[in-house]
Point group: C2
Chain length 225, copies 2
């Protein structure tokens, strides 16, 4: 029975890894649709979004089944509830990537506004954050999870700077307004992806160290359970 | 033992109701800070955000404790995992309200851009959605939960229209750019609050009808558990 549960957990983690891979791939495709001006890549993102939605439901139902049938305690329980939350975060990452792809489709109807070097940079950072967050989860690596939280600050900094630049662009050239606002929204989407990766990492730190670092509260003793 | 568990669940629902009340109040205060140009109201929002963060952690730890100690099955299990998710959604609603209050503080440094009648309208709708979503949860009312999903379409429609209006304003008057972008971001925050209320309602429908309506998939038989 124990052996069987270990196997089930392993399969579940495998599904979560696949979902994270897909979500990461969607970020890359959506950003390339925008920066390389390739509309078909946006279409790939929309197709993958359906796949992620189906994976989310499948993983959630499997977690509920395991909670009911295996009645896990302590660490396994914490693991399963973390999977529920990570699953939810990954689905929202995919939603954000879908938003970027939708904006890309709109932007491709207009001439390019200006070089968007900061978008690929933010995208690469947030992809790395998702990857490291999930790796930290699978490899029980709390210090990798903490590195993800630091990357989040870098994403925020880049986004704040480009936000100000785009405001300046719009003020100087009213014809740029619609496109600049769209680029601001893409920045917000990438910022939110980074936030979801941060949530995942906080869950990992909670599992590994038994403490909740969310909202930067003081360390507190593990809940009695 | 059963009686005791019922009592514990009741207390937990009570805490969730309180948190929802606070989050709803924060939306109202943040929007009033902006529309009535009253900066102290933004300060109240920041104080309440701390309270919501503490409540989220408390509720999460209580759910984990109950899962471990009570080992609930079937319906109670689904209820507890839904509380975990609703808890998370409410905390994110509070985050969005905090964002609105932050933008309000910035906007109050400048003269008002134009009447913002659509913002109170969107805020009132999204507050009602949170209230109805939580009421649907506590009263096991799937049809109320479905009404919430319909309200979401109304919020999206209002937001799309004001988004287009604000683009037009910026194009006509470059001096309005910074303020108009801030107002666009407030609209996005309210739209996200409505999305969280929709998530909550989808969880309620899942508990009450045992099926997952997320992503508008076809009805599927209940997971075997």
């Amino acid at each position: 029975m124990e052996r069987h549960f270990d196997e089930e957990l392993k399969n579940l983690k495998q599904k979560l890894l696949q979902m994270a891979d897909t979500a990461q791939g969607m970020i890359g495709l959506a950003v390339r649709a925008l920066t390389e001006r390739k509309e078909p890549l946006a279409g790939e993102v929309f197709a993958l979004e359906e796949k992620v939605n189906a994976a989310e439901i499948e993983i959630e139902e499997e977690v509920l089944r395991l909670l009911a049938v295996r009645q896990p305690a302590a660490r396994d329980l914490r693991l399963l509830t973390a999977i529920l939350k990570i699953n939810n975060d990954l689905e929202r990452v995919a939603d954000q990537a879908e938003n970027i792809a939708e904006i890309a489709v709109l932007l491709l109807k207009e001439p390019p506004l200006k070089p968007v070097i900061d978008i690929p940079k933010m995208a690469a950072l947030s992809q790395r954050m998702i990857k490291n967050g999930i790796d930290a989860f699978v490899k029980h690596d709390a210090s990798l999870a903490k590195a993800v939280c630091e990357d989040d600050d870098a994403v925020d900094r880049i986004n704040d700077q480009r936000f100000r630049e785009l405001l300046t662009t719009m003020i100087a050239d009213p014809k740029s307004v619609t496109r600049a606002v769209d680029l601001i929204l893409v920045g917000r989407n990438l910022e939110r992806i980074a936030d979801h990766a941060t949530n995942i990492s906080e869950d990992v730190i909670f599992i590994e160290e038994g403490k909740n670092i969310k909202h930067h509260l003081q360390e507190k003793p593990e809940a009695s359970s």
